[in-house]
């Protein structure tokens, strides 16, 4: 798989996005990363592997501890891949659709 696909796969899962969010505030040890999630350590480990494959995290040994830190650089490619008008129209159309859905709900009441 190419790097862009790896990055998009990595950020496609809510748990992995939450891990990124957590690590964006500073490096953490594996057990600290896993703590907020109600999933098996094995599952967290798999998520970290996918993030590592995408280059979004790296592990560094500090004394006896291994610290995991976030790397933002691969997201540059994703950012460039999203065209402004792609974002613009999606935002406008979501709002338009939301307006009609809200209107329909009110009519049903």
């Amino acid at each position: 798989m190419d790097q862009l696909t790896n990055v998009l796969t990595a950020i496609s899962h809510p748990t992995r996005r939450a891990i990124i969010w957590q690590l964006a505030h500073g490096p953490a040890r594996f057990l600290d990363v896993a703590k907020p999630f109600d999933t098996a350590l094995n599952a967290v480990s798999k998520h970290l592997k996918l993030l590592e494959r995408a280059g979004l995290i790296e592990r560094r040994k500090q004394g006896r501890e291994v610290y995991i830190s976030f790397r933002g650089e691969p997201l540059r490619e994703v950012a460039g891949w999203v065209h402004e008008y792609e974002r613009f129209w999606n935002e406008r159309l979501d709002q338009f659709e939301h307006y009609f859905k809200g209107k329909k709900k009110k009519e049903k009441r």
């Binding site: 950012a79 999203v82 402004e84 159309l93 338009f96």
Partner: protein
Amino acid sequence: MENSKKTLEFKFERTIPAPPGEVFDAWLNPKIPGNPWNAAEKFILDPKVDGLFYWTLKGTSHYGRFTEIERPDRIQHTWMSPKTLGQESIVTLTFKKQGEDTLMTLVHSDLPDHELARGHEKGWNYFLDIFPGQFGNGSRKEK
């Protein structure tokens, strides 16, 4: 002058819970959230064939002329902004009845595929908002 011949096209689809006529009218009504004119700080809108529109948001102006108005099926207009590099891009909307709903399709075509027209800045800001302080000297200009 360097004008890229390569163009981009984006297609979007939404199912709107209303009949095509109502959806068509709402798209051209600046009071309805979601259409381009609704977000504008200032706008001029003359939705008829050869009618013009203008709208501006955060100092960026957009211009266009309507080329097709066929209620309730189809709207087509040109679209010019700094991101189209002075060239006319084309926005085509179709409204198809789908049971009680409308399948609305928007195609934005003939967009110049040029570095300036790509959303680096906006994309970057999106990630910068999510991950503050993690991108070093990113290319953020807004705010």
